[in-house]
Amino acid sequence: MVSSFKDALNSGRFVITSEIAPPKGTNLEQMHHHIELIRDKVDALNVTDHQSSVMRFPSIGGCLAIKEQGGEPILQMTCRDRNRLALQAELLLAYTRGIRNVLCLTGDAVPVGDHKEAKGVFDLDSSQLLRTVRLLESGKDMGGSDLDGAVEFCAGAIVTPEAQPIEPQLAKFEKKVEAGAEFFQTQAIYDLDSFSRFMEYARQFPVKVLGGIVLLSSARMAKYMTENVPGIFVPQNLIDELSVAPRGEVLAKGIEIAGRMISALKKDSICDGVHIMAIGREEVVPDILAAAGI
């Protein structure tokens, strides 16, 4: 067994993952609280890696906390902040500490974050990092030397099914599959018809796809995302639904929408599972699952 998450992917049942964001600072109380709330309700928990290029407590630190609290972590690793030596070293560390799942990402650009003057590394990209995971599993490092003790990971990547133009995105998706990605977590999806079309395409590859569910916490946020976040399209009827919700019930409406989408994806077996991102409202993840009837 590589990991319980991999077993869940292979079990054929609908897989649930979610994510936590480590704190900016050393106060881990809220993170521990979120882990405690969610860990038993999901198959695995991602920990973001300086998401949006904002400096935080490290991803691997969050993964260790999840391990300590009895959960199953997915280590998010971006290529923005570490060169190939540091990335390989961190994979070795992660393996020795029982972390068995890794999500390989290129990483957001430095100027979108809070350390705009920093140097972006990008020595590797996501597909090269995936191959590096597989190489380390074979007992070799990128310099060609033998490892004294190899690693073994369930490795995944991300895909943006609504990206425009879509062809370069699909070419990259296929490169990641060839590089050894076993699972994909998608960017937020809201239009289930267009996601179903993407899934028809993705089904020809031997990978598991978890649809990305991002909680819409207000009509304003939904509008902002559709206008500003690359590859996210929120249909107008969802924005309308949020804007007519009575004051004080908007978040509940967002939870209901997320739950509804998850149960639709599950009912029609459109994809292999979902990845729930509550972005700053991790405490409502159990409510989303309840709304989905899970």
Partner: protein, 213 residues
């Protein structure tokens, strides 16, 4: 091809000249003339500003091509005025500063920040097209360089930030990988989009980069 420069803020230049009374100014007749950062007009303007700020300017010259070997001749011709100064304020790009430093023992202070090597798309519009990476992949990217045109220098296709043909760092900036895709499609070579490029080899040209021809 032009070396693109931006004049440093005057306060920064004055900071570097803090303990210096007499200055000799050198401009360049090529790139910094064309970018309007270190040609004759800017040299004269700099002379006035330095004098207003209480510096003595022992002389000035504009070398036709400050980065080439004729620079030595020009410096010899102006030896006396240069030696009369405590330092040289250099207004060519950094390549000129290096060349000038070969022949002068006095401190050479750059007046420019040297930004990149560019081609001129339209009058006044300069674009970096090559970072001289040492492993050219233009043949597989439809002639668009992802090392310079992609913000992250990615060689295996777009990142997740690509947004309707624009880059995540700037809505005004084209995503290099959309451009590459469009041109490969026109050329009927979309299969190249699926070709895997291994990690770059930075050992190809170890720093400092040198070659004997």
């Amino acid at each position: 091809m032009k070396s693109i420069t931006k004049q440093k803020p005057f306060e920064e230049i004055m900071g570097q000249l803090a303990d210096i009374g007499r200055v000799y100014i050198i401009g360049c007749g090529t790139c910094t003339t064309m970018t309007g950062t270190g040609g004759i007009d800017q040299v004269l303007e700099m002379k006035d500003r330095l004098q207003e700020a209480g510096k003595r300017v022992s002389g000035w010259t504009v070398i036709p091509i400050a980065c080439d070997e004729m620079t030595e001749v020009s410096i010899k011709e102006n030896k006396r005025a240069i030696e009369d100064a405590n330092c040289v304020l250099a207004m060519p790009c950094a390549l000129g500063v290096h060349r000038i430093s070969l022949y002068i023992d006095r401190p050479v202070i750059p007046a420019q920040d040297t930004l990149f090597i560019a081609v001129e798309d339209a009058p006044g519009y300069f674009r970096e097209v090559c970072a001289q990476c040492g492993q050219c992949i233009l043949g597989e990217t439809a002639g668009i360089c992802p090392i310079t045109a992609c913000h992250k220098g990615l060689v295996n296709g777009p990142c997740g930030g690509t947004n309707n043909g624009k880059c995540e760092v700037d809505q005004e900036q084209d995503c290099a990988w959309t451009l590459i895709y469009e041109r490969l499609e026109k050329q009927g070579r979309l299969d190249l989009l699926r070709k895997y490029h291994p990690p770059r080899n930075y050992q190809v040209t170890p720093r400092p980069r040198m070659i004997k021809i």
